[in-house]
């Protein structure tokens, strides 16, 4: 167990493992899957899915390698280790072409702000001419979200600054299926985002309280299945240094 893991608070370990398995379970076998830059949690989740229930899913790394077999879990999703064992490279122009043809099943993306209808802001906070925060921009998100079959947005915080009534700017939208946070799994329905399940140790009221838009409260809210012993040991084997926790603010 690396130093990082030993010094992590228990609630971060619990949230990180829950998020990794929740993201992983959204992958179906045989799917073509993509994740954005700086995405350690989705990266680990995809490798977990390949190891367990979806051995035939294809991971196209954002840097271009397909189905790499890294000897260790790199900290960065741009690490050259992510070329090790890959049998092909599928670079950005080909990847965007594949998105445009409807050939990609699932993309994992992040967002700074997200509203109930699934509009995501990656551009700026505040006044467009004098922004309070200049965000990095959407990368390929504005063409990925409308063209991929399903988008899953992940974020290691769940608060009213992230889940907002109105985004300051709509950088990208379309085909959102789920949102995975440290406390809940949200699902996008025709009426907007709603609670699909709440992670163990958290309450529906807490999720509603920490969400800046109205979350319709259905009569029965499930608890997200906790990570199984098999999932946890697979995670430990894949990612002994705890790369999956690196996006949590400790």
């Amino acid at each position: 167990m690396g130093n990082r893991l030993a010094s992590l608070p228990e609630h971060v370990v619990r949230a990180g493992n829950q998020m990794a398995v929740t993201l992983s379970r959204l992958i179906e076998d045989g799917e073509k899957v993509f994740h954005g830059v700086n995405s350690p949690l989705p990266m680990v989740a995809i490798f977990l899915a390949k190891k367990r229930h979806a051995p035939n899913c294809s991971l196209v790394e954002v840097a271009g390698s397909v189905d790499p077999k890294p000897r260790f879990m790199p900290n960065s999703t741009a690490d050259p280790e992510l070329c090790h064992g890959a049998a092909s490279m599928f670079y950005n122009p080909d990847m965007y072409d594949l998105f445009a043809r409807g050939g990609v099943d699932l993309a994992f993306l992040g967002a700074a702000q997200l509203d109930k209808q699934g509009r995501a802001n990656m551009s700026y906070i505040g006044d467009p001419f004098h922004p309070k925060v200049r965000l990095p921009g959407g990368g390929g998100g504005a063409v990925i979200m409308p063209q991929v079959k399903r988008t899953v947005i992940w974020r290691t915080v769940h608060d009213r600054r992230f889940l907002v009534p109105h985004v300051d700017f709509s950088t990208q939208s379309g085909n959102l299926s789920h949102v995975v946070t440290p406390i809940a799994l949200l699902e996008k329905k025709s009426t907007g985002l709603e609670i699909a399940s709440v992670h163990a140790g958290h309450l529906v009221d807490e999720v509603i309280e920490k969400t800046g838009f109205d979350l319709a409260r259905s009569s029965v809210v499930r608890q997200t299945p906790a990570p199984s012993a098999e999932e946890l040991s697979a995670l430990e084997e894949l990612d002994p240094d705890g790369v999956r926790f690196s996006e949590f603010r400790v």
Binding site: V60, A87, S88, R101
Partner: protein, 117 residues
């Protein structure tokens, strides 16, 4: 359907020499790609140089090992165009049903059944 020089059983394929429009066609094929290949090699061999892979396996539905599969056309660097055979093909297929005559009078090497994914 694309003929390549080398592919692994998953359809990760290398094309030697010129590529014409083969790569674009594999991307555009809505129902997927069927590969015929001079030889099937282990994935480990392909994975030593993934940047040489022209067609990623996730676009491929099936792989058929067919040495000489491009004949009487060419397959660099294994064989060039067989002009006499090409002339025979052209003369036979000028008439309706000629393709059947051509195929039944041609030795088609077929090493194994398709590796269907």
């Amino acid at each position: 359907m694309i003929h390549v020089q080398k592919s692994d059983p998953q359809g990760n394929a290398q094309i030697l020499g010129n590529q014409q429009f083969d790569v674009e066609m594999t991307r555009a094929a809505q129902k997927g790609v069927i590969l015929t290949t001079e030889k099937i090699v282990a994935q480990e061999e392909i994975a030593t140089e993934p940047e040489r892979t022209a067609i990623p396996g996730f676009l491929v539905k099936a792989v058929v090992e067919t040495p000489g599969g491009a004949s009487p056309c060419s397959c660099h660097p294994y064989y060039g165009v067989d002009k006499d055979e090409m002339a025979r093909y052209l003369s036979l297929t000028r008439e309706k049903g000629g393709i059947g005559k051509y195929l039944s009078s041609t030795d088609i090497t077929h090493k194994q059944d398709a590796v269907t994914k």
